[in-house]
């Protein structure tokens, strides 16, 4: 045993390893990515771990393991659960034999996501249990209980951490080596494992009856707690509980209720916890899940309790809670006095806006710039996708007109082409996104005779989420080198008319490739291949010759590289950021930039 200082995601991984998990699969997505990375990092015996191509694949790989009686865990971010919802909804009816935990990390804010969806809703929708940790320490405990619950009730169970739990660090005391639990193996039984309408009909009734039992069991669960005895009560969930606790530790008289298992609702626990309460504030993030559950419970039992929260306007619907919103909202509800302990900041200079940007030297900047230059004066649609390259939307590049969800760039470019064939339709997709959900889009475009250009921005990694390997990298989490799957061969195999591979940092060649494709009918593809600058570190640097620089600032106006700024009317390059990619040098009209 030793103490390990780990992220919440690490705590989830260590919890699963401590539970003897046999198989872990998932697809990277902030804030969930470090779970699988931690599983892969710690010494374990007999645990199979993989990065799957997408969340649906991961869910199905894990389901088969659970059918065999193995303990399986699948990890993803909340929008990943949308992708995996098809297998999950059916799996909820079929059930499992070995424990199966689905970790779906929500992202209030949202900080790094498209939506503020609430996985607790998904659990209720799928009629399966969900655990909602308030800290890394609790996540470590909960994942182990979730496996036990899954095995006892033969159902997949969701663990729903949020960003602040996933990314918070705490010390966890665990064993230093881990061994997979082992399992019986698959026992064939087509009445059990083959989903048919009749099976779903029968199991639906069983599931609803079982959920009442689980709610009763959860009523004595250690993750649901109540302290204090005031008539005004505060109910909090997830990390919001931690914020509220920090405020309420000086007010032990306040009735303070934590719900760590939101579905099935621990009704008996809540009815008892709310005895004598006249007014309750629900302090939670994302949707008013507990608030609505309490309204139903209170209505059904005809209790005279006022429920406050998001629906009453006391808690904001969008954005994350924090220590300060806890202080303001809960103090107002309880009538506590607010004291201001920060220094007086009247007259503070306004800090500059710092929107996230593509890194200095990022090859995506060069790819976007090449397309922009080639399409100058022409009507074109630029459909982006999910990854670092979404940042291509920022000025001055302004090369992402749409971004919807993983893989949508390709299919939306096809849609734009059918709506406006006079324009050139472009799709930008990363290499990992291409494997995750781009291939079917290309097949759809070829099959439906679209006229468009697919740009694969291939930087040989899954950069945005922390550089995970994917099928094109020749590495997986289990074995020595594996065969690289060629994006070019896939594109040619599905019937793409022209497939060109260029180095985006070779600007002239890249512009020529775009022009060539724009003049060819049908579905074309350009693979812009250059490694992520965060992986392949460069010793090269560019430098501005102040004598030659005329201060036209074209370099800054056209490419928006963070290494470039203005000093005394001339461009300067920050040598700490520059990678010597040379893109700025190629567009300097006076040849003032050199030294690559």
């Amino acid at each position: 045993m030793s103490k390990k200082y780990v992220m919440g995601n690490g705590a989830i991984a260590l919890g699963a390893l401590s539970a003897g998990v046999d198989l872990v699969a998932g697809y990277p997505g902030t804030p969930s990515s470090e779970i699988i990375e931690t599983v892969a990092k710690y010494p374990h015996d007999g645990t199979y771990v993989e990065w799957s191509v997408n969340e649906k694949a991961a869910m199905e790989v894990a389901a088969a393991a659970a059918y065999c009686g193995a303990r399986a865990m699948v990890t993803m971010k909340q929008v990943g659960l949308n992708v995996a919802s098809d297998p999950l909804m059916s799996l909820a009816y079929v059930g499992v034999k070995g424990g199966m935990v689905v970790v779906s990390a929500d992202d209030p804010g949202p900080i790094s996501s498209q939506t503020e969806q609430d996985t607790r809703r998904f659990a209720e929708f799928a009629r399966i249990p969900v655990f909602d940790p308030s800290s890394p320490e609790e996540a470590f405990e909960m994942v182990q209980d979730a496996f036990a619950c899954s095995e006892k009730y033969k159902t997949p169970v969701i663990l729903r951490p949020t960003t602040r739990v996933d990314h918070a660090y705490a010390s966890i005391d665990t064993s230093d080596t881990f061994t997979a639990k082992g399992f019986e193996g698959f026992v064939k039984d087509s009445k059990k494992w083959v989903i048919f309408p009749r099976l779903s009909y029968q199991n639906h009734a069983v599931i609803e009856k079982r959920n009442v039992e689980i709610g009763e069991e959860f009523s004595s669960c250690r993750f649901n707690t109540v302290t204090g005895s005031s008539q005004k009560a505060v109910v909090a969930t997830g990390v919001s509980y931690a914020y509220a606790r920090e405020l309420l530790k000086d007010h032990p008289e306040v009735r303070f209720i934590k719900v760590g298992t939101p579905h099935p609702l621990p009704e008996s626990f809540l009815l008892k916890a709310l005895e004598g309460v006249t007014e309750v504030l629900c302090f939670e993030e994302l949707s008013p899940y507990i608030e609505e559950s309490l309204l139903k419970l209170i209505g059904r039992h005809r209790l005279n309790i006022t429920v406050r929260g998001k629906l009453s306007g006391d808690v904001p619907h969008s954005g994350e809670n924090d220590a300060d919103s806890a202080k303001t909202i809960i103090s107002r509800f309880l009538g506590l006095e607010l004291t201001d302990s920060a220094p007086d900041l009247t007259g503070a200079p306004q800090p500059p806006a710092r929107p996230p940007v593509l890194c200095a030297g990022c090859p995506h900047r060069a790819s976007f710039y090449a397309v922009k230059r080639a399409m100058k004066g022409k009507k074109a649609y630029f459909c982006g996708d999910i990854g670092c390259y979404t940042l291509g939307n920022a000025m001055p590049l302004d090369m992402v007109d749409t971004c919807l969800c993983m893989g949508a760039g390709i299919t939306m470019a096809q849609g734009f082409n059918h709506m406006d064939s006079d324009a050139v339709a472009f799709a930008f997709t990363g290499d990992s996104t291409f494997f995750a959900s781009g291939i079917t889009g290309v097949v759809n475009a070829v099959y439906n005779a679209a006229d468009m250009i697919v740009c694969v921005l291939d930087n040989s990694t899954t950069a945005m989420t922390g550089h995970q390997p994917h099928p094109g990298t020749g590495r997986n989490l289990m074995s020595a080198p594996v065969d690289k799957i060629s994006i070019e061969k896939i594109l040619l195999a599905v019937g793409v008319k022209k497939v060109l591979t260029v180095d985006p940092l070779d600007l002239d060649a890249a512009v020529a490739a775009v022009k060539d494709c724009a003049e060819t009918k049908g579905v074309k593809a350009i693979i812009f291949k250059s490694p992520c600058v965060a992986i392949v570190k460069s010793d090269k640097r560019c430098k501005v010759d102040a004598e030659k620089c005329v201060g036209c600032l074209r370099c800054i106006r056209e490419i928006g590289c963070p290494a470039l700024s203005v000093q005394d009317g001339k461009a300067v390059i920050d040598s700490n950021l520059c990678t010597g990619c040379g893109l700025c040098a190629k567009l300097c009209p006076t040849g003032a930039i050199g030294g690559q």
Binding site: K3, Y5, T30, P31, I111, S112, S135, R164, V165, H167, A168, Y169, A170, S171, V239, A242, Y243, R245, E246, K249, D322, A323, D324, K327, D340, S341, A342, P343, D344, L345, G347, A348, P349, P351, P352, A353, R354, P355, P356, V357, L358, C359, C388, T390, L391, M395, P396, M464, T465, L553, I556, R557, G560, C561, P562, L564, S565, V566, N576, L577
Partner: protein, 192 residues
């Protein structure tokens, strides 16, 4: 010991390493430690913060407004952005070298001087020049460890200098260790 330390800067400046070394050092001295960091898309050149919470009193990962004993700022305007987290009698260690925003309009004129003047006017602080401090090491990438030295030197971390130095040895890759230790010593001198 109970201490809340906030570290802020711009994505890519190395704030995460600094916060991990402080948290691990606090644990090595027998304290409970929690921390939280900005991760994901916001890291790409955006404002980043790390909250390090030492001691048993902290139950949530984020420091409340007006709660930080110490603010370590890698950039002047980011210091100002996060001053609201500082206690009235809190201390600020701030780098005077600005990171200019990329958009053309706002990068002109911003030099960090007004920010430093404002910080001096509202709280106790130590102003550090990362360019001067890191010049002997050839890159301002060593600033994160140098500023840890400065913080340890002021005694405001509440941790012994040896504990922090030991943790740097455990954390930093061996090929960069010599320069990092030299950067730590250089910072230490400024802090003392």
């Amino acid at each position: 010991m109970n201490k809340d330390i906030m570290i802020c800067g711009v994505g890519g400046q190395g704030t995460v390493l600094a916060s991990r070394i402080i948290a691990a050092s606090a644990m090595n001295e027998g304290n409970a430690a929690h921390s939280a960091e900005t991760i994901g898309m916001a890291q790409r050149g955006g404002p980043v913060t790390s909250h390090v919470r030492i001691g048993d009193e902290a139950s949530s990962p984020l420091i409340p407004l007006g709660g930080a004993d110490l603010l370590i700022a890698f950039e002047p305007s980011e210091a100002v952005r996060n001053l609201k987290y500082l206690k009235k009698d809190g201390f600020v260690i701030v780098n005077s070298v600005p990171v200019k925003p990329t958009s053309l309009g706002s990068s002109e004129g911003y030099d960090g001087k007004a920010e430093i003047a404002f910080i001096r006017s509202v709280c106790d602080c130590l102003v550090v020049d990362s360019d001067a401090l890191c010049a002997p090491f050839g890159s301002s990438k060593f600033f994160n460890v140098a500023v840890l030295g400065a913080a340890a030197g002021t005694g405001r971390l509440g941790l012994s200098v040896e504990t922090v130095r030991d943790q740097i040895v455990k954390t930093v890759p061996e090929r960069f260790l010599e320069k990092n230790l030299a950067a730590f010593e250089a910072g230490l001198k400024i802090g003392e």
